[in-house]
Symmetry: D2
Subunit: 309 residues, 4 copies
């Protein structure tokens, strides 16, 4: 199975489950995979920024890829391979494909500035991993400090047939989605899949602007799948109602640094993983923060029973 431009729906950004001692919790890797699939995932994204990928060495990373791909039979798995050097990127990308991945995801390094630097970087990346590996272009200026105009994205997409998806998490980015979609509609740009990130903070409108789905790790992937489904079915108010109910928690989880701790805490409460431990260096929730998350869950449970934990 290979990722292509028709990808749609929900590709959750998976966490990497650890035991409290820092070892990878393989049983939780399995249960988490099952959890995402049951939630309605049409794909999976692993070893992303929120997957604590830099804390794994290459062998561990490849073992995670193999385990998830084996478990997620029939569902495409995208593997984050961003790295400061092309040697590490190639080793991980090729190793991941061998182990069953459907494609890889590449983010630009935060030192890029000009349009040409960005376009040139992705050309080098494609040369490094090979033009036959489908890949996702990650556009995430808030964290990566690299700003890509629609024109730059088009240049990259047009230059590389193997670029099949945009992970869109520009902020604000609604107009960007509209621009890219209009170009594809007019024949001015090859159509690629657009899945959106940003912790789902704008998922309601991103879908209405033309996104094909979500690629983010909010701890209620089942809600994300529902919003994507409702929105694609044209049930606009129902989609907003569900989304709005979750927005207070989505917003809370979207805090940089703290967000992963919130996400793992809720996933643990939901039974997806056994422990909310992060491998060192780890961020942790204070007692006050945990109480705030519990409070948000209790309030949410009044509108969505899945939050009654």
């Amino acid at each position: 199975m290979r990722l292509d431009e028709t990808a749609a729906g929900l590709f959750p950004i998976a966490v990497t489950p650890f035991a409290p001692d820092g070892a990878i919790d393989w049983a939780s890797v399995d249960s988490m995979t099952d959890f995402y699939l049951k939630a309605g995932a049409t794909g999976l994204t692993i070893l992303g920024i929120m997957g604590e990928a830099p804390k794994l060495d290459l062998d561990e990373s490849l073992e995670v890829v193999a385990r998830v791909c084996a478990r997620a039979k029939g569902v495409p798995v995208v593997v984050g391979v961003s790295a400061p050097g092309f040697a590490a990127m190639r080793a991980l990308a090729q190793g991941a494909m061998t182990r069953g991945a459907a494609g890889v995801m590449i983010a630009p390094p935060n030192t890029l500035r000009t349009d040409d630097q960005i376009v040139g970087y992705f050309a080098q990346a494609v040369e490094a991993i090979g033009a036959d590996i489908p890949w996702v272009l990650q556009d995430y200026p808030l964290t990566l400090s690299v700003v890509m105009t629609p024109s730059v994205i088009r240049r990259v997409v047009e230059a590389h047939r193997s670029c099949v998806m945009l992970k869109h998490e520009d902020w604000p980015g609604l107009e960007k989605i509209s621009t890219l979609r209009a170009w594809s509609h007019e024949g001015a740009m090859r159509r690629v899949s657009i899945l959106t990130g940003n912790g789902a903070l704008f998922l309601d409108f991103e879908m209405e602007r033309g996104a094909d789905g979500a690629m983010t790790g909010y701890a209620f992937p089942d809600m994300l799948a529902d919003v994507v489904r409702l929105s694609r079915a044209g049930e606009r108010e129902a989609a907003h109602d569900l989304f709005d109910a979750h927005l207070p928690l989505i917003r809370y989880e979207q805090q940089q640094g703290v967000g992963l701790a919130v996400r793992k805490y809720v996933l643990m409460k939901r039974g997806a993983i056994a422990s909310d431990a992060q491998r060192k260096p780890a961020s942790a929730l204070s007692a006050k923060a945990k109480a705030e998350v519990d409070h948000l869950l209790a309030r949410l449970a009044k509108k969505d029973k899945r939050a009654a934990l």
Copy 2:
């Protein structure tokens, strides 16, 4: 009237009203001031980042200060005086105080990196404007790229008696509020007022962590005043209910760049200002974006009649 450490409640970040031709709309300056006061503002903040301050020359800036101060009788007015050079900062700060301002607000330039650079910068700023002008320390890393630890804030506060308020808009920043409040409680740091920004995206929990109120420009300042009041009165669920109803729009308005256009558009619809024009260079709302805001208002109106416009 001079700003001091007891400031609390709502100090809206005021927009600067322009006519479509770019001239300052003085009638709207008045109506906007009245609007904020009627909404429950206990103070006003003008010429901030969202007040298009860099588009005004010094004479215009001082005229705005004079006009607002004259209109807002009895309510303290804080004036943003951040500038790349201390000559401009001093001219604006001293001119503002002469015209009735209660204090000024200073943000650090985005080139500062080390703790000592930050502390040193504010020492230079205080020397430039004079130690007798009360001032607000603006902590806004998302936009300014300057990261201040609680320790650095304490060093600044302890060094300058005239620093009477922290405009807190670190993100995430809940633990920072808790830390600063704990220090003041233990006597380890002089207590200053803490008002929070970030477009109110975390106002619900910021109040619970110990903030004294809000200093932000969301287009429903009356709601902000209500949330602050309810939270201080201990009516926690009522505060969250009201806040959550507005969160979809708060979130939408919080988009960098587009946010001001949204804010002015809603303020215009509410009658606070005559036009949503920005002076050049201006951001504008697309037709789709306007429709999205209208949709959000319509949905909000079901829960808060003030949004029925």
Copy 3:
């Protein structure tokens, strides 16, 4: 007199002379102007980054412009007008032209990232100051963090007839000069004047790549004028010999932050200004640093008598 594309030779970046108490030292403004002209300057640049411009308020800035223009009869004066807002930029640019300036210089703000943002910024700047004011595009990524490819520079130059000069201080930038010159030679780009900065650290080769001269403030402008003259006369080895003799001091003066203190110290020793004082906030030379500069001057004096002070 108006700046145009034929500008060449030496346009020193002038310091702003202050008395030890921080007042502008008007006598030294005159003596400094005379010094630069006597050194062979074909133009002057004032209120640049190294001219402590942000420490002057608007009235002071305009008074400096008037004084220098009056003194420098027959020689074009370029005025730095970079500002965070277009209101301040317009006020200074138009005020400067009224007082006799030949043109202005504009640097991009350090928040710009994409090619389109850069091109758009200069379009807004030209609209703000008026399309009739000749201006210099400053390309200084090391300090400004804005990276402009040759293509972006061409887009700006082609869009604005009033852009007549590039102040080139990219580093490394030799290939950029060659590219721009080749384009002009082929008719692919309007030819503008290129003067180079970077404290003259690469002046020897910049001239050989096609620069028209120097726009920098090294404390021996007479040497800069000589190198420009020798290089244009084809006396390559003589140009390098003179340049190399000064390189140890050029390199020392090129240190960020300390550089201005070195420059003013040497200019004071040479009699160009009465005091090396900077207006606050000031950088200062330690005793060790002064001894190092004195040592460099003593060594230089063996090869260039002008350094025997």
Copy 4:
């Protein structure tokens, strides 16, 4: 052999030799090692920023370490292990020590801002690699965007006994050396070795301020060793004379991006390596740039015969 605080002299930043097809040129690894040792190196630094380390995968990196350590019998080898994640850093650091390295070098990631973030990062790094591996703290703000005050360096040094050396390449940084040396002299800070980088652009004065030697990769390491030796012997003018003769080329090689191409070109001409090829993505010298380097070498040869190639 383990690196310790007494390290001094010259630790060249070694290039990584490649064949034109991108394969590691093992014969040149040997000849380059011999070349550095013959030039007077008292240590070697490999896999640094200028060593194209990110282009090597882990196995290749460890093979380079083993080869150089075996060849450089009796001379300590420092291995750059900077990485975006601690898993990769640990794997390389521990693998390098097993293969004979004397210590490792760690640079901070460019996302660090506050003093506490920097101190915390190195604590995490030491925990990751183990407290028994001697390491070099790299302070290189120009490239890394992380600014460390002397106080922060002291905090790191005091917290970790295994930190035995500072690679100093702050710019300007002369006062920093003086401050750190004064603190050690007064007993206010444990004395560590200070070797300086920055392409040797300030080596003359860095030695006089108290540096123990050079850690940089200028293509004439024999000259660096001479300057270090002359300076330590108190032969000040002789040190400056030799240094000044090389300064035009040092300056040319110091250009970011182009610098490595210049360095490899000269090393190839000197016979240290067989090819100046870089592994992709590579920077290359234009014909004009090569001619400029040749010109600089020809001029240098008049004063230092080692440049007659």
